[in-house]
C-alpha cells in the first residue's frame, strides 16, 4: 500500500505545483514577461526563454498539455483495446483471427518512423498527435485483454451464465469486468506515460503545433539555439522541461507498477 501511495502522492504534488503555475503564477506562458534569457529570479522562478517568456509558466502549461494528450490517447486506447480484446477473446473464430492479425500488425511495425510519416502527412495539430499515439497504443492492451478473456471464457461460472442466455455486455458487466478492468486500467495508465514521451518526441521532431508550449517543443527550441551548450542558458531553459518529463513519466510508471502489484498480485 505504501508503495502505491508514495508515487501517487508525489505525482499529485507535481500536478499541484504545475496547477499553481498554470492558474495562480503571475507570469503568462504565451506572452513575453521579461527580457530575453533572464536567469531564474523571484519574479521568474525558472528564468525566461529567448523571447522573454517565463519558463516555469511554460513547463506548467506543458504538463497539462502533455498530460491531456497522454490521457486522451490512453482513453482511446483503453476503449479500442478493451473492446477489441474482449470481442476477440470471447467470440473466437473469424473475429479473433482478424483482431489478432491487427494486433500483430500494430505490434510489429516500427512505431516512430510510421508516426513521423503519418504526422508529417496529416499536419501539425494536437488532435492528430492524439490519434497517432492512440493508434499505436491499443494493440498491447488488446493482446492482454484478449488472453484474459479467453481464459475467463472457459471458467464454469461463465459457461453457466452463458447457458442461461447472458449476452456479452451482461457477462462482461457482471462476471468479467472484475478480472479485466484492473488489467485495462493499468495498461492504460502505462499508455499515458508512454504517450507523454511520444508526444514530446513528435513535438521535438517538429510534428506538433509549432507554437504549442509542450515539453518536446521547449527542448527543440532550446537545442536549436546556436551555441546553447557553451552558454549557461541551458541550465534554466533545457533542464526544466527535461526533468519535468523524466519525473512525471517515472512517477506514472512507478504508480502503475505499484497498482499492478496491488491489484493483480492480490489474487
Amino acid at each position: 500500500m505504501r508503495r502505491l501511495l508514495i508515487p501517487a502522492a508525489l505525482f499529485l504534488l507535481l500536478a499541484l505545483l504545475f496547477a499553481y503555475g498554470l492558474l495562480f503564477y503571475p507570469q503568462d506562458s504565451q506572452l513575453p514577461s521579461g527580457d530575453s534569457l533572464e536567469a531564474p529570479s523571484r519574479v521568474h522562478w525558472l528564468g525566461t526563454d529567448n523571447l522573454g517568456i517565463d519558463i516555469f509558466a511554460q513547463v506548467s502549461s506543458g504538463f497539462f498539455h502533455s498530460l491531456s494528450i497522454g490521457l486522451a490517447a490512453a482513453v482511446i486506447a483503453f476503449m479500442l483495446g478493451g473492446a477489441l480484446g474482449v470481442a476477440a477473446g470471447y467470440a473466437g473464430g473469424r473475429t479473433d483471427a482478424v483482431v489478432e492479425f491487427l494486433i500483430n500488425l500494430f505490434l510489429s511495425v516500427p512505431q516512430l518512423p510510421i508516426m513521423i510519416v503519418i504526422g508529417a502527412f496529416f499536419g501539425q495539430s494536437s488532435l492528430n498527435i492524439i490519434c497517432i499515439i492512440a493508434a499505436f497504443s491499443w494493440a498491447p492492451i488488446a493482446k492482454q485483454v484478449r488472453a484474459r478473456t479467453m481464459s475467463l471464457r472457459k471458467t464454469r461460472y461463465l459457461i453457466l451464465a452463458r447457458s442461461y442466455g447472458g449476452g456479452l455486455w451482461y457477462l462482461f458487466r457482471t462476471h468479467m469486468s472484475r478480472d479485466i478492468m484492473p488489467l485495462l486500467l493499468i495498461s492504460s495508465l502505462a499508455v499515458t506515460g508512454r504517450a507523454i514521451v511520444q508526444e514530446s518526441s513528435l513535438a521535438f521532431l517538429g510534428l506538433s503545433d509549432p507554437l504549442a508550449k509542450s515539453w518536446g517543443l521547449m527542448i527543440a527550441r532550446c537545442t536549436g539555439f546556436k551555441g546553447i551548450y557553451f552558454t549557461e542558458f541551458w541550465i534554466w531553459w533545457l533542464l526544466p522541461p527535461v526533468l519535468a518529463l523524466v519525473l512525471s513519466v517515472l512517477l506514472l510508471r512507478l504508480f502503475s507498477r505499484a497498482l499492478e502489484n496491488y491489484w493483480l498480485g492480490k489474487e
Partner: protein, 531 residues
C-alpha cells in the same frame, strides 16, 4: 564529454556510410578518370580537406537539379565554371582569361588547355552550345533571362578560344550576367532531351575547379575533389566535404568542421581568441514578410499595411532572435549598412495603438507560413504575438524550408516569412526582381521574388530604368529613390537584418573570403582557391 564522443562516432559513421557505402543510391561523378591523367593531382594543395557543416539536401549539384538557394547554387558552381568570377573588388578571370566589350558586343577569350572533368577539351563550341541550350531549357539559376527576356541576341565563334556574344541591349549588369552562367559540356548535353530529369552520373561532368565525387541527399553529405585539369590557378584543398552535424558549434570545437557561424552570445569567447579568424557578414541575412495579395486583396489598402508595420515590434526580433547582432530592417529594403541605403526612407515605429486604429475592427484571421528553423519559428512567434495584440488572429504553420519555398512559389499562403542571405552588399542584384512587375521571378526562389498580386507602375519603371544607367552615382541615386518608394508603398515588410560572423582556425586554413557582392564565405568559389 560523453556527448561529444557520441556525436563524433555518429558523424564518422554517417560520413563513412554516406560517402562510401551509399554509392548505389546517389549520383556519382564518373570514377574512371579520378586517379588518372585528368583526375586528382597528387600533392601541392594547401590543405588536404576542408570540412563544412552539411546535413541539408541542397540537391544534386548540377545546373538543373540544385536547390535554388545560395548553398545549392554554390555547390553546383564548384562543379560547373562560368566565364568570370568576382573577387573582393570586381570581376576576375575564371574560364575566360580576358574579355572586352564595345556597344552590345562582348568578347571573351578562354584559357587554353581547360578541359571538362572527363578530359574532353572545353572550347567556345561548348560556350555557344550552352547559350542555345539555356535559351531552350532555362536552368535553376539563370542569369541569361527567360523567353523574350533572354538577353543574348546572337553569338559568333571567332576561334576555338574566342567568342563574341551580342546582347539585345547592353546595361550595367550585362557583363556580370554573361560572366556568371555556367558552361555545360556539349558532348554530353547535346544528347539530353529532358535536362530537368537527367540525373545519371554524366550530369556531374562539369567544367569547374572541383569535381563532385560524392553526394547523398538523405544525409546532406557532399564530397568535392580538386580537378587536376583546372588551368586557372590552384585549388586550396584536395577535397571539400560537407558532413552532417548535429550541432555546428560542437562540431567546430571538436575539429570536425573547419568553418562555422559564430553565435552572438559567444562573441566574447571567440573574438579574443587570436587563433580564430572571422569573415564578417554585416546585415547579410534578412527576413521579410510577404502578403499574398491575391488571397487577401483587402491588404492592397495602404493604411492596413501601415497598421501592420506599426503593430510589429521589430526591435524585439533583433534583440531576442538575433541576440542583438543585426538591425531593424529598413522599410526601403536595402539594409542600413549598405552603400546604397537611403537614410530618408520612412521609418515605422512600433506603435500598437496606432496599429489598432489603422487596422480597425475587422478582426482579420490569417495563417502565417514560416520555415521550421529555430529562428524562423521564433520570429513567427513574435509576429503572431504582435499581430494578435492588435486584434488579428494568427495561426502559425511551420514547415521545412524547401516546402515553405515551394508553397510560396505556388501562392499557397496568406502571410509568409522568408529569410535569405545576400542582402548586405548588392542591391542591384535583387531590387529589380523584387519590385519590378516585369522582372518578378514568380517561379524561382522566394528570396528574390516580388510580392504576389501587387503591382505598381511607377516602381516598375524606376526599377527597370536603373539598369540602363551606367553612371554609378546616378544609379545609386535611383536606387535610393526606389527605396523611398518601397518604404512609402510597403509592397512587403522588412522584419530585420541579421549580422553574423563565419569563424575558422587561422593556423589550419586562412583563405576564406567574401566578394564585393556576396558575403557568404562558405559559398564563394574563391574561398576554395589558393590565392
Amino acid at each position: 564529454m560523453k556527448k561529444s564522443k557520441f556525436i563524433s562516432l555518429f558523424l564518422i559513421i554517417c560520413v563513412a556510410i554516406s560517402l562510401f557505402g551509399g554509392c548505389q543510391s546517389h549520383v556519382n561523378a564518373p570514377a574512371g578518370d579520378a586517379g588518372g591523367e585528368h583526375g586528382v593531382a597528387e600533392s601541392s594543395y594547401l590543405v588536404e580537406t576542408l570540412k563544412l557543416a552539411g546535413g541539408t539536401d541542397w540537391g544534386v549539384p548540377s545546373p538543373y537539379l540544385n536547390v535554388s538557394r545560395g548553398p545549392g547554387q554554390a555547390k553546383m558552381r564548384l562543379v560547373f565554371a562560368s566565364l568570370l568570377e568576382k573577387d573582393e573588388t570586381g570581376d576576375v578571370p575564371w574560364l575566360a582569361e580576358s574579355w572586352s566589350f564595345e556597344g552590345n558586343e562582348y568578347t571573351f577569350t578562354l584559357f587554353e588547355g581547360q578541359s571538362f572533368h572527363d578530359g574532353e577539351p572545353l572550347t567556345t563550341e561548348d560556350v555557344a552550345f550552352t547559350i542555345d541550350y539555356f535559351r531552350e531549357y532555362p536552368p535553376v539559376t539563370n542569369s541569361l533571362g527567360v523567353g523574350d527576356g533572354f538577353i543574348i541576341e546572337n553569338y559568333r565563334i571567332v576561334d576555338e578560344y574566342t567568342i563574341t556574344i551580342t546582347v539585345k541591349e547592353a546595361n550595367a549588369d550585362t557583363l556580370s550576367n554573361l560572366g556568371s552562367f555556367v558552361i555545360l559540356p556539349k558532348h554530353i548535353w547535346e544528347k539530353v532531351a529532358d535536362p530537368y530529369t537527367y540525373n545519371v552520373p554524366d550530369c556531374l561532368v562539369g567544367s569547374g575547379a572541383y569535381m563532385c565525387t560524392g553526394y547523398e541527399g538523405a544525409t546532406g553529405s557532399y564530397e568535392f575533389t580538386a580537378y587536376a585539369g583546372w588551368v586557372n590557378g590552384q585549388q586550396a584543398a584536395e577535397r571539400i566535404l560537407f558532413v552532417p552535424v548535429s550541432d555546428e558549434l560542437l562540431a567546430f570545437e571538436n575539429g570536425e568542421i573547419d568553418i562555422a557561424s559564430m553565435p552572438a552570445d559567444l562573441a566574447d569567447k571567440y573574438m579574443d581568441d587570436p587563433a580564430i579568424g572571422f569573415v564578417e557578414k554585416a546585415d547579410d541575412m534578412g527576413y521579410k514578410m510577404l502578403i499574398n495579395f491575391e488571397r487577401l486583396p483587402e491588404f492592397l489598402d495602404l493604411p492596413l499595411r501601415q497598421g501592420i508595420y506599426a503593430a510589429l515590434d521589430r526591435q524585439s526580433i533583433v534583440d531576442n532572435v538575433f541576440r542583438g547582432m543585426g538591425s531593424v530592417g529598413s522599410a526601403g529594403y536595402v539594409p542600413v549598412s549598405s552603400l546604397f541605403y537611403n537614410e530618408n526612407v520612412i521609418k515605422y515605429e512600433y506603435d500598437p495603438d496606432a496599429a489598432k486604429e489603422l487596422l480597425g475592427e475587422k478582426g482579420f484571421e490569417i495563417s502565417l507560413l514560416t520555415d521550421d528553423s529555430a529562428d524562423g519559428i521564433s520570429i513567427a512567434e513574435i509576429v503572431k504575438i504582435n499581430l494578435e495584440a492588435v486584434g488579428m488572429k494568427v495561426t502559425v504553420e511551420a514547415v521545412d524550408s524547401a516546402s515553405r519555398d515551394d508553397r510560396i512559389n505556388k501562392g499557397d499562403y496568406d502571410f509568409a516569412i522568408v529569410g535569405n542571405g545576400g542582402w548586405g552588399n548588392n542591391p542591384p542584384g535583387y531590387m529589380r526582381t523584387l519590385f519590378s512587375d516585369k522582372s518578378k521571378y514568380l517561379s524561382t526562389s522566394p528570396a528574390s521574388m516580388g510580392p504576389r498580386g501587387y503591382s505598381n507602375e511607377e516602381m516598375t519603371e524606376l526599377a527597370e530604368a536603373q539598369l540602363k544607367e551606367t553612371d554609378f552615382e546616378k544609379r545609386k541615386e535611383m536606387f535610393k529613390e526606389l527605396e523611398y518608394m518601397v518604404s512609402e508603398e510597403i509592397p512587403l515588410f522588412v522584419l530585420g537584418n541579421q549580422s553574423s560572423y563565419s569563424m575558422y582556425r587561422i593556423d589550419y586554413y586562412d583563405g576564406w573570403m567574401k566578394t564585393y557582392a556576396y558575403q557568404q564565405a562558405e559559398q564563394n568559389r574563391l574561398s576554395y582557391m589558393a590565392r
